[in-house]
Symmetry: C2
Subunit: 232 residues, 2 copies
Amino acid sequence: TIVEVLEKEMDKQQLLKGKKVLISAGPTREKIDPVRYFTNPSTGKMGYALARQAKALGAEVTLVSGPVNLATPAGVTRIDVTTAEEMHEQMLTHFPDQDLVIKSAAVADYRPRITYDHKMKKSPGDYVVEMERTRDILAELGERKEHQYLIGFAAETQEVERYGREKLDKKNLDGIVVNNVADEGAGFGHDTNASLWMTKSGQVEAFPLMSKDELAEGILRRAAKEMSGDVV
Amino acid sequence: TIVEVLEKEMDKQQLLKGKKVLISAGPTREKIDPVRYFTNPSTGKMGYALARQAKALGAEVTLVSGPVNLATPAGVTRIDVTTAEEMHEQMLTHFPDQDLVIKSAAVADYRPRITYDHKMKKSPGDYVVEMERTRDILAELGERKEHQYLIGFAAETQEVERYGREKLDKKNLDGIVVNNVADEGAGFGHDTNASLWMTKSGQVEAFPLMSKDELAEGILRRAAKEMSGDVV
């Protein structure tokens, strides 16, 4: 009945009601010069789906976004950044008063040691780019964690469960979503898009192939349940 | 009058009537591994505007496009590529029977010497990326040129006219569009988007600030005039 549908929808809006949710999304860009940079293929769609679904579940949502071609979900506060360093600053600044924090951004782990203000002229030979590590935002959030429920993502091309578990432990996360991103070009075909949900509390659940909005809702519902102290 | 407008529109459709036009657009991506690559900020908008306007001027248009978020202009044949090597192959293959060729793609001039099939694991220290030169598509087209009218683009942050003239001569082009792409972050503000049109035949013309579609039509009209042998 219509009443049941409405009641279900209202229940849905209660799940993260009054909760503050911080989500990072998209890639970062690390410049060599004004017209050359390192990045990754993140489109931001997963993070934007999480923001949209968290809002639908009643949360107050802040979305820290790298450069993407996506519209801001209605009712979500969006903060744009470009580099890993800017992403770091925004996530650390907003972290303390959040209830749930999801790092779905694909932050560059290396950046060129030197960024030139002017376009480098080509020269005949080869050259090397010296790269340095960026700061590990997720690990720093894990260290500073107090009351927050912290979720990370892992993109792996092999030994998906082992690397996911290692990252969950090492970064002091409460939950992790592990995606197999084996290159289409490498021909791994049907493994692509398989997601595994693992928690500190010991849950391991394989999500079947589904849309990013469905996956986002699934993750948020599971996190909300754990945050509320329900036995799962 | 309506008749005059229609006549003008019909004249416009005659300018490149029966001509084959090949345009490259967008960036290329040069992979380090499945989740890390080297690229540039090209959105492909200029190349797509050129394709759209060339079609409007009556041409048969082939568009070789790097990864962009743009719809294919109506009536244009689009070929998608990712790397500089793929761009090279498509441009060289289609070059021989074209009348007008415009290289507006921002092709990476360097690529990582090694591309890994699996995601590299992070290690504590820094590292260097060994880069090698990609092939210079525009220079190769300039060498093979017979009847084609060949136009290149240059993106410069300083000494715009000097570098533009050098590139025009060195690559055996018929025309070049030089953009000042000084980084917004560098605060050069009003210099950004200034375009200079220079030809082998000696024309030098500064285009005022205008939309990419207007700039595209301006370039194509000037090229069509030179191709038809009109004294300019």
